[in-house]
């Protein structure tokens, strides 16, 4: 399969993998695949060749992740900022992406066999229409697969993603599905492009740069960040093992920080619900203060109704997104 290289680990690699797997393993790894152009310069080849080799390395890395029982991978393929590059380079990248997605669709049987679900995160409307249609077909075709997940960030920046999530919540308010007081950290997280995935446990950036470049800023606030100096097309199984080792060393303190954050979030939600209930009682009550039990009942009722509203809204949002993709696929079929 072109997107996931066939093959097994050799004996030493298998041994190391088994040793690593004795400890906590990341379930979701994110990659910033940086260094294709520097690799091309180093090898005195065309930039386009660097990007092609970068894609091949991605296929190999996905194979390693599966061997290590890492079932979800998110990659930063193309940033909205990358549109600033020369027209030739951008066109080349769009063409490469198109070829890869067409190839993917030709390998549907293999995808089904391996249970690969492909998702593309980003503002697809910024891409050429034919590429949008290929992407839509690939995503719709693999939607129901659930053995492993590949999220490709294309025409993506984290700020756009967060702003889009806020816009979706505002849409929900406009449609009367939710109230502005329902807006919370959890709800915002559910409105991101990555809402169907858990947060990445581990974020790896290659080529020695030590910044996040607008990638998954919301989702990686408590992830283990590993910056490696190897260029992406030269990435090796041992680089991946090194990153996982770093994850294992940071596992406990990060788990603790995450749990603490979650507790804080739950408390904030409770306080917000209490404030809303107090507000409601003030406006609709008959002036008499309620006893503690009635207040508690009112709080539980309010929380239940808020959660129901939120579920309905999220259902409507998912339907909107699914319709966008199926519309694109039917356009492609007609064309």
């Amino acid at each position: 399969m072109s997107w996931i290289r066939e093959g097994e680990l050799n004996l030493i690699e298998k041994l190391s993998a088994n040793i690593l797997k004795a400890g906590p393993m990341p379930k979701h790894v994110a990659f910033i695949m940086d260094g294709n152009r520097r690799y091309a310069r180093k090898r005195h080849v065309e930039r386009q060749e660097g990007h092609t080799q970068g894609f091949d390395k991605l296929a190999e890395t996905l194979r390693w992740c599966l061997n290590l029982s890492i079932h979800e991978v998110t990659v930063y393929a193309f940033s909205i900022e990358n549109f600033k590059r020369s027209k030739d380079e951008v066109d080349g990248l769009m063409e490469l992406a198109k070829q890869k997605f067409i190839r993917l669709l030709q390998e549907q049987d293999n995808l089904e066999k391996h249970g690969v679900c492909i998702r593309v995160l980003g503002d697809l409307t910024l891409l050429p229409l034919d590429l949008q249609q290929h992407i839509a077909r690939a995503v719709v075709a693999t939607r129901t697969h659930n053995k492993c997940f590949l999220n490709v960030c294309f025409a993506y920046t984290s700020r756009h993603e967060i702003a889009n999530a806020v816009r979706e919540m505002a849409w929900g308010v406009e449609q009367g599905l939710i109230k502005s007081s329902d807006v919370s950290e959890a709800l915002l997280g559910h409105c991101l492009y990555s809402s169907n995935s858990p947060n990445p446990d581990l974020l790896i950036r290659t080529s020695g740069e030590v910044r996040l470049s607008d990638f998954l800023l919301w989702q990686t606030s408590h992830s283990c960040l590993v910056f490696q100096s190897v260029l992406w097309p030269e990435y090796s199984f041992w680089n991946l093992c090194d990153a996982i080792l770093q994850y294992q060393l940071n596992h406990r303190p990060l788990q603790k920080a995450r749990d603490q954050h979650r507790e804080g979030q739950a408390l904030q939600q409770l306080e917000a619900d209490r404030a809303c209930v107090a507000d409601l009682l003030q406006h609709h009550g008959n002036g008499k203060p309620l006893d503690a039990q009635r207040r508690q009942e009112a709080l539980l009722n309010y929380t239940a109704s808020r959660e129901e509203r939120v579920q309905d809204f999220l259902g409507a949002l998912q339907h909107k997104r699914d319709s966008f993709l199926t519309d694109l696929t039917s356009q492609a079929a007609l064309a």
Binding site: I19, R167, A170, E209, V210, S213, F227, P253, G264
Partner: protein, 281 residues
């Protein structure tokens, strides 16, 4: 077989921990050894002077030396190819040492960095704001001898409200004390504000974009995003530090803020000066 793998894994991690501990121990020993070397060298020079000034036995260097350091640090800052406009000090360690952090803040300002943010994962600095401020003022005096002059002073921003009893004169540098609430929670609050505006038909959902959200999340128009974050401690994560603002921030890790030296800070700044930002191009 699984038991064997688990055993090997345990051994591997024990070795890694020992390795880490040894490195930390060597680093501290090396610094102390270097420190002793310097103090021996200085004593060799100063002893003749000390003989003529029998009361000059204090550890704090003479005022002349402090002024000299201030100018040296300023010159160091100017010598770098680029200096961050806004530096974040992320303390990812359990027990913060206020003196060390105060030193870092004072050095950053002396070198010429306009905005300094201090952050920890538990919100400790926010809660103990006044203790941190006192420590910084004390170290400013100690390190830079600025009792008389007000060239370098600090404006404390605490959610936008300045404390009245602080010296808010011609401020060259601004200090911000941050906690996790300034991160995701601020974004959620901005989102609620926008949704309320939509609820009251003052805005539509289509009006919401990156620029609108960014202007709500910017404390003041002049505060830049952090260019550089120095992370102190063994945990490799941003731990909730200003998710919106760190899209282009360089992250440099330092082992610990305890006993950190000016040289540690300066070498991190040199590393920052040599990095190349292509901004997507």
């Amino acid at each position: 077989m699984a038991i064997v793998y688990e055993f090997v894994w345990q051994v591997l991690h024990v070795l890694l921990h020992i390795h880490r501990t040894l490195i930390t121990w060597f680093r501290i020993r090396l610094r102390n050894w270097n420190g002793r070397l310097w103090s021996r060298a200085l004593t060799a020079l100063i002893v003749p002077m000390a003989l003529s000034f029998p009361n000059q036995k204090n550890i704090v260097p003479a005022p002349g030396k402090r002024v000299g350091r201030r100018y040296r640090w300023g010159a160091d800052g100017k010598s770098l190819e680029k200096l961050p406009d806004h530096i974040g000090l992320l303390i990812a360690e359990e027990e913060p040492r206020y003196t060390d952090i105060a030193n870092l803040v004072v050095w950053c300002m002396a070198v010429g960095i306009s905005y300094v943010s201090v952050y920890d994962n538990y919100g400790v600095f926010r809660r103990n704001n006044s203790r941190l401020m006192d420590e910084i003022l004390k170290q400013q005096q100690e390190l830079l001898d600025l009792e008389g002059s007000k060239q370098l002073c600090v404006e404390f921003l605490n959610n936008g409200t300045d404390k009245q009893d602080q010296q808010v004169l011609s401020c060259q540098s601004v200090l911000k004390v941050l906690s996790p609430d300034d991160g995701k929670l601020r974004i959620v609050q901005a989102a609620q504000q926008l949704c309320r505006a939509v609820e009251q038909r003052e805005k539509t959902s289509e009006d919401i974009n990156v620029t609108v959200l960014d202007s709500l999340l910017r404390e003041s128009k002049s505060t830049p995003d952090p260019d550089l974050v120095l992370k102190f401690g063994p945990v490799e994560s941003t731990l909730g530090f200003l998710p919106w603002h760190i899209r282009l921030t360089e992250f440099i890790s330092l082992p610990s803020h305890v006993g950190v030296s000016y040289e540690d800070l300066f070498s991190a700044l040199q590393r920052y000066a040599s990095c190349e930002q292509r901004l997507g191009k």
